[in-house]
């Protein structure tokens, strides 16, 4: 039985969410927080028909090829965003060969991709079990960074943290991190616990962790937000707990582990959908998904475009799902 618990479901989703947060580029402002809260409220509202559908025994699986294809595009696009984030953030986190331009990018992606090909071949259950351990490790690291950051934080940084000047970009950024509905709906198919309970558990943890990370980032880097490219990374660097030993390496480990799991989660979801659309395409399925993700990531979209596209996918995918399944509240055989 390939079923996962609500804790595993939460860990799988949170890992991608937190990784996206670690890689935030540009300033974090009040508008970012508003965007984040709006995103959560909207995505939850859009998920209500799906939740009711699942409660009546329905699953994501039988949604038709068109809807499945839309979700596949959404998830592959999210995966490409993760690769793009890895490349961007590796500028401030030292990864060997990262400085070698396109060759460096491809090499880093290849290492992650090889690992993800193996991880996704082990199945959702193994991924979910390991995600819990990785998430626990990540949470422990976040607690260490938070404690050390709080000791170095200054409350007046709240006032110093200003908007970037582009309110739309700040809002959309917050919205884009709020929920990855595509992965959520795919993984909900494997849930053994009640979907409402599971979503409540997931969103509660997510809000809690995001609040802590946002708070610490603003408290530590609020004053230098405008000159900081990666505020979360900078706040981790500034708030190192040791006098000599650098926390960057701890952060690099968390970054790498979360990067691998984020890509693996997207890959596993995409593979699950691909099985529905092309059941005969078995060989090289994992490699094909990852190759498309990396190639999409190489397209030079700017960040605002990426976030906007992500938000459009996020809001339209559940609507299309609802419309294509004319009456999703009635379970189809």
């Amino acid at each position: 039985m390939n079923k996962i618990s609500k804790e595993q479901f939460t860990a799988v989703l949170l890992i991608s969410d937190i990784f996206a947060m670690l890689c935030i580029k540009g300033s974090i402002s009040a508008f970012t927080s508003v965007g984040f809260i709006t995103g959560i409220i909207f995505s939850f509202a859009l998920l209500i028909p799906f939740i009711r559908y699942c409660q009546k025994g329905g699953t994501f699986g039988k949604c038709g090829k068109f809807t499945a294809f839309l979700y596949l595009c959404y998830i592959i696009f999210s995966g490409s965003n993760i690769f793009s984030m890895i490349w961007n953030t590796s500028e401030v986190i030292y990864i060997p060969y990262e400085n070698n331009g396109l060759y460096g990018k491809i090499l880093i992606s290849a290492v992650i991709a090889v690992s993800c090909i193996y991880i996704s071949s082990c199945g959702i259950k193994a991924l979910a079990r390991s995600a819990v351990i990785a998430m626990s490790f990540g949470t422990l690291c976040i607690i260490i960074v938070t404690v050390s950051a709080l000791m170095k934080s200054e409350w007046n940084n709240f006032a110093l943290a200003e908007n970037s000047g582009n309110l739309y970009a700040d809002f959309i950024k917050g919205c884009a991190w709020s929920c990855n509905i595509g992965v959520l709906m795919v993984f909900s198919e494997s849930l053994q616990d009640d979907i409402t309970d599971s979503l409540f558990f997931y969103f509660t943890f997510k809000v809690l962790l995001f609040t802590v990370i946002l708070l610490v980032t603003v408290l530590v880097s609020g004053g230098i937000m405008k000159v900081t490219d990666f505020p979360v990374v900078t706040s981790a660097q500034i708030s190192q707990p040791f006098s000599v030993q650098r926390i960057d390496s701890l952060f690099l480990i968390v970054f790498s582990v979360f990067a691998v799991f984020s890509v693996a989660v997207q890959t596993s979801s995409a593979i699950n959908i691909l099985k529905e659309i092309f059941p005969n395409f078995v060989k090289f399925r994992n490699s094909a998904v990852l190759a498309v993700m990396i190639l999409t990531a190489l397209v030079p979209f700017d960040d605002t475009f990426r976030f906007s596209a992500n938000v459009i996918f996020m809001f339209t995918a559940p609507v299309v799902y609802f419309l294509k399944n004319k009456n999703p509240l009635t379970v189809r055989g």
């Binding site: 030292y94 060997p96 880093i108 690992s115 079990r129 030993q245 650098r246 691998v260």
Partner: protein, 481 residues
């Protein structure tokens, strides 16, 4: 399938058949005699039975049997009025006859009857019960399993006298006819697990079973698992503890180890001594072993990664010290590390395989001459050697995982040398998923950590008091998914 021929009723023909099947083997002994006025033959295998028992339990009573009408009456008389031995299986074909005589039984065939009588009078040379060589223990029993399955069964029975302990004997190996004993507590074992294991054992069609490694692949999943999802032990007390927790044990004749199913990762860090000392000390030792495992696998890789890619992690004193030490080394730090680890593995393997009398000489050569000379000649730096020795010692603290630690140490070292901490982290993710994918018959190897079971942490992260444990009523079924 010739051996499945029924026992022939005519004695001379039967003896000829036995000689034909055995190829006139010199160790098959056939003694003709008269019992109750009927011509009989006693078949046994040289060296497999006790001559003293044979004399007392078989020959003495046989000579005193009064005259009988026919062979059927004779066998009925023997069955009713004599007690040759407690173990008296029925024999109706030559296959069973040979299996029994080769297991130390004496078989009587008589003229005019198409069956035979067998008597367990085993008396072959066996190694006595000795202290286990691989699983050290201070406070517990010093008895270990031997090569004889029946002795091993008795070692378990002596510790668990409950009638709930079931021991089922089956025979496997088309040529070796090895006795295999399936042990379990019938009130504790998950019924589905028992059924699944019996089905898996049914799939064994091997010619011989000479070690636990022959049957373990049949009990484990087919896809690649780095860690073993079945365990082994050479201690009857450890096995009893596992049986009481609802696990199933498989004993193999000729092998002084028992296979246990299911196996969890946390078991590799538990010893019986943990339950003989105060909980705080047991917890300390257990965490020391977790640390030793992490050190054994990651320390060389992290050291290389830091030296090569992340020197900012070190404080200035340590950095200068390491730089000074590595300055004069003729080889790169990765080559040095690989050299030291490969040297250690060669010495270890040689230590295991060489004859005992030469062991001392090898220790001196490897430890003093090679080790000392390598450092003095500047071939290997002292800090690197210290790190490698620490890693090797860490691995020895968890002997159960030694094969995995050895290979992982090399793989992590290479990933650390090529990609630094990033490489180590990415490879660690793949290994973590592999460990989490490991399971046997629905029992996840990583339980109770993931899937998380709060109750299970009482004897993994902590070690609660024994009086609290008695109310725990734990069985391994709680981990089933």
């Amino acid at each position: 399938m010739d051996n499945y021929i029924k026992i022939l009723p005519e004695l001379n023909e039967s003896i000829s058949k036995i000689k034909e099947i055995s190829g006139n083997s010199s160790d098959v002994l056939i003694n003709r005699f008269l019992a109750g006025g009927i011509e009989c033959a006693l078949i046994c295998c040289e060296g497999m039975f006790s001559s003293q028992t044979m004399g007392k339990l078989v020959f003495d009573p046989v000579t005193k049997i009064p005259v009988q009408k026919n062979s059927y009456e004779l066998f009925r008389y023997i069955q009713k009025n004599t007690l040759f031995s407690a173990d008296r299986p029925a024999v109706s074909d030559y296959n069973t006859l040979f299996r029994l005589i080769n297991s130390g039984f004496a078989v009587i065939i008589a003229d005019g009857i198409n069956s035979a009588l067998a008597f367990g009078i085993q008396g072959y040379a066996v190694r006595s019960v000795q202290e286990p060589s691989g699983e050290g223990n201070i406070m517990g029993s010093h008895e270990g399993f031997t090569e004889t399955v029946r002795t091993n069964m008795s070692l378990i029975r002596r510790r668990i006298k409950s009638p709930d302990l079931v021991m089922k004997l089956i025979v496997k190996g088309t040529k070796s006819h090895t006795d295999i004993c399936i042990c379990y507590m019938k009130d504790r074992v998950p019924p589905q697990l028992l059924e699944d294991i019996e089905k898996s054992l049914d799939n064994i069609k091997l010619e011989s079973i000479l070690s636990t490694g022959y049957i373990r692949p049949f009990l484990e999943k087919k896809h690649f698992e780095f860690f073993n999802s079945t365990g082994t032990t050479e201690r009857p007390d450890v096995l009893c503890a596992k049986l009481i927790e609802g696990r199933i044990a498989i004993l193999i004749d000729g092998v002084p180890f028992a296979v246990t199913v299911p196996k969890l990762l946390c078991e590799s860090f538990q010893t019986l001594d943990d339950y003989a000392v105060k909980p705080y000390y047991a917890v300390f030792v257990r965490w020391l072993k977790y640390l030793a495992f992490i050190t054994a696998v990651f320390l060389p890789a992290v050291y290389i990664a830091i030296i090569m890619y992340h020197p900012e992690l070190l404080n200035s004193t340590l950095l200068i010290l390491l730089a000074e030490a590595e300055k004069d080394a003729p080889l790169s730090v990765v080559t040095e590390a690989l050299f030291v680890l490969i040297m250690y593995e060669i010495i270890r393997e040689a230590g295991v395989r060489i004859p005992k009398p030469t062991g001392g000489a090898v220790s001196i050569i490897s430890g003093l001459i090679i080790g000392d000379a390598a450092v003095k000649s500047g071939l290997v730096s002292t800090p690197l050697l210290t790190i490698m020795v620490l890693a090797v010692l860490g691995g020895l603290a968890v002997p159960d995982l030694n094969p995995q630690i050895t290979v992982l140490r090399f793989l992590f070292l290479i990933s650390g040398a090529v990609f630094g901490l990033f490489g180590i982290s990415v490879f660690a993710c793949a290994v973590l998923v592999n460990v989490c994918a490991t399971e046997t018959y629905g029992f996840p190897y990583t339980a109770p950590v993931s899937p998380f079971k709060m109750k299970g942490l009482e004897d993994t992260v902590f070690r609660i008091n024994i009086p609290e444990m008695q109310n725990r009523g734990f069985t391994v079924e709680e981990y089933h998914e």
